[in-house]
């Protein structure tokens, strides 16, 4: 705990970027609204990991934890509202297909 291994941080950084790639790939290539939200969740996980690591590496773990707790609250409310919108869309379209979301354009 006392000595920080810089390579660990580097590896975590790589893993974060890999998670980013996964999340964005998911948002791009899925045709399902719920899965798009899961992609967003993956992205948030990656960010959480990055913040915690940053706190750990710099020794400001208390602050990092405080931030992550707030972040989790925000995340939950965000997901609740987003799923509400998804369910509403399902009610109107009868499907979760993202390709049906092209009504507004131009």
């Amino acid at each position: 705990m006392t000595s920080v291994n810089p390579y660990l941080f580097f590896h975590i950084f790589i893993v974060t970027i890999m998670l980013f790639v996964m999340g964005f790939y998911c948002i791009f290539f899925t045709f399902n609204l719920v899965r798009a939200l899961i992609g967003v969740e993956l992205l948030i996980k990656a960010v959480t990991l990055l913040i915690i690591t940053a706190g750990y590496v710099t020794g400001h773990m208390a602050l990092a934890q405080a931030i992550v707790i707030t972040l989790i609250v925000v995340e939950v409310v965000f997901i609740v509202v987003a799923t509400g919108v998804v369910i509403g869309l399902h009610g109107h379209n009868g499907t979760l297909d993202t390709r049906k979301l092209r009504n507004l354009k131009g």
Partner: protein, 609 residues
């Protein structure tokens, strides 16, 4: 309350007041308009030839609300208020049954307010503020004319907005170069950058005076807009303002040298405007449209005069501006009189109105001989001054000016013949002379034409010469021209115009069509020779050539229109449709844009960091 604020505030408040009054209460509006304009006349005459400065606290960055009255601005202010008053007087009768009277009065007053503001402002930004404000009233004044006037209004608006944009850039550049935005403190030598600023400012100024190539809305407005508007803005006020600013640019803000290429540029613009506009005027068959092309053509003389950068030319240009305001305004008012009484301005239909409307005819004759430059009317003296300066800078300019003068005379002979002489048609048997409210402004203007001609020493020595300050010391411009050769040429040209008119009338038996043949009278030696060498019948071929020329000019005119109206708009709308296509509603595409943008931003930052 400073007295300098009054000419700005009184008409503005009166204009707003009129908008709030019900359109049924006609007399109140007329009373307010007359009262407000008359007060302005009194104020501006009482301020005449005085000097005053007034400053309100500014907002910093060199933008200060400074008003400054000195010789030139007091003189322009008096002229514009006086003309506004006369037009208002005329409108009382002319607009009596028109539905748009309320808006017209209101816009007229607001226009007057903005003009006073623009003339009095000493700070370029505030001048620009008033200048842009004029754009609005211009739009409004044209648009109220008729149902189709909308297109013309848009055209005028677009053309003026584009040139005002140039002026805005010019003002920015000038402020940057001079380090101040106060006109009275700016004095720049013509470095390359300053030249750019100069050209940009000149574009704004000559566009306000509706010189070529910024003129194309004026003839359209002549048909669509209410007639007093034509007499008010394009004929008088805009010339005053545009040439005022042009002389400010050339005399005060920049040190324009007679040898410089900019001077030649201005003279070329002036010459082209004279000749092209007057040629367009020749082929017109409508009273108002013909006058409107002359309104453009006359600007050419002023620009030519000021562009020579010689004291005599500048005096001539400014004097011509003043004279033009009188006779052109008067001419438009006679047109309005004819329109009101006869119900048409089509020259094919008119004729023989001289007996029915003698006073109108008299005013027309005085104004027409003034504009044609017949001695001893005012137009003659200012034109002689310009000829003198033009000849000094090059015979070509002189020739162009003289040619323009010839065509002017010919077209006015045609106009007068077609409208007032000849046979009276049956349907105009009952035409009567207009009421005194309409005649009085005409008569006053016609009288002024004579006075400024016969007693030209007073205006030249007292009004115009002081503007030049040191440059004019030791010169005398008043009195009958000393160079009799030039006068002789002028007289020859006028005589030739009359002869050619008579020939034309004889050939066709009609005043309107007379001019078709007169274009090719032998005085136009170059064209004449060309025609004679190549063809049998100089008249016929010359007719074709010149009408082709006129058609080409017309096409150029339309091309300029087309660039303004169609080309730019089509390009922009095509782009817009393309953008619509790309916003296809797929959110993953939007996500992709965002990610792409993010990568670009980060790569850019990292590369620069």
């Amino acid at each position: 309350m400073n007295i300098l604020l009054l000419p700005i505030l009184i008409p503005f408040i009166a204009g707003l007041l009129i908008l709030t009054i019900s359109s049924r209460a006609r007399f109140i509006k007329e009373l307010i308009t007359l009262f407000a304009t008359f007060t302005c006349v009194i104020i501006s005459f009482s301020l005449f030839k005085k000097e005053a400065v007034f400053a309100l606290p500014g907002i910093g960055f060199g933008i200060e609300f400074n008003l400054r009255l000195e010789h030139l601005s007091s003189f322009i202010l008096s002229a514009s208020t006086a003309i506004s008053f006369l037009i208002a007087l005329y409108c009382v009768s002319f607009l009596r049954s028109k539905p748009y009277a309320k808006q017209f009065y209101s816009y007229l007053l607001i226009t007057l307010s903005f003009v006073s503001g623009a003339v009095l402002s000493d700070n370029l930004i505030f001048m620009l503020f008033f200048w842009e404000g004029l754009l609005l009233t211009l739009y409004g004044l044209i648009a109220i004319g008729s149902k189709d006037a909308y297109h013309t209004a848009i055209k005028a608006f677009v053309i003026c907005a584009v040139t005002d944009l140039c002026m805005m850039l010019g003002i920015g550049l000038t402020g940057y170069l001079a380090g101040t935005l106060n006109i009275s403190q700016i004095s720049l030598d013509l470095s390359p950058l300053a030249t750019t600023a100069f050209i940009l400012l000149v574009i704004g100024a000559i566009s306000k005076a509706s010189s070529m190539p910024f003129h194309s809305w004026v003839p359209d407005a002549a048909v669509d807009a209410p007639l007093p508007f034509m007499a008010f803005l394009p004929a008088a006020i805009e010339k005053l303002l545009g040439i005022y600013f042009l002389s400010r640019i050339c005399l005060d803000m920049f040190n324009l040298m007679p040898e410089s290429s900019l001077s030649i540029m201005l003279m070329v613009i002036g010459g082209i405007t004279i000749i092209l506009a007057v040629m367009m005027a020749l082929i017109q068959k409508d009273y108002k449209r013909l006058l409107s092309y002359h309104a453009i053509s006359q600007v050419g003389y002023m620009i030519l005069g000021i562009g020579t950068a010689l004291p005599i030319g500048i005096v001539g240009g400014i004097f011509h501006m003043l004279n033009n305001a009188m006779y052109k305004c008067c001419l438009f008012l006679t047109g309005g009189s004819v329109e009101k009484q006869a119900g048409t301005t089509d020259l094919e239909k008119l004729g023989g109105l001289m007996r029915k409307m003698p006073i109108t005819f008299g005013c027309f004759v005085i104004a027409a001989v003034s504009i044609s430059g017949v001695p001893p009317f005012n137009g003659f003296f200012s034109k002689e001054l310009i000829y003198d300066a033009a000849l000094e800078r090059g015979w070509a300019f002189y020739l162009v000016a003289l040619l323009g003068s010839f065509f002017t005379a010919v077209s006015f002979l045609k106009l007068g013949h077609a409208a007032f002489l000849g046979k009276l048609r049956d349907e105009y048997r009952n035409v009567k002379e207009s009421g005194w409210l309409m005649l009085a402004p005409m008569a006053v203007l016609a009288l002024l034409c004579v006075i400024f001609g016969v007693f030209n020493a007073y205006p030249i020595n007292n009004l115009i010469q002081p503007i030049l300050g040191e440059r004019a010391v030791g010169h005398s411009f008043s009195g009958f021209p000393t160079n009799f050769t030039l006068v002789l040429f002028t007289l020859i040209v006028l005589a030739a115009a009359i002869i050619s008119h008579l020939i034309g009338v004889k050939a066709t038996g009609s005043g309107v069509r007379a001019v078709n043949y007169i274009h090719y009278a032998p005085v136009l030696s170059k064209i004449y020779e060309l025609a004679e060498r190549k063809f049998f019948d100089p008249y016929e071929i010359g007719l074709k050539l010149l009408s082709a020329l006129a058609r080409i000019l017309y096409a150029i005119d339309r091309l300029i229109d087309w660039v303004y109206e169609k080309l730019s708009i089509n390009i922009v709308f095509g782009l817009s449709r393309q953008l619509r296509y790309w916003h296809n509603g797929d959110y993953t595409l939007y996500v992709a844009w965002s990610l792409g943008g993010m990568f670009l931003v980060i790569i850019f930052l990292m590369a620069r960091g």
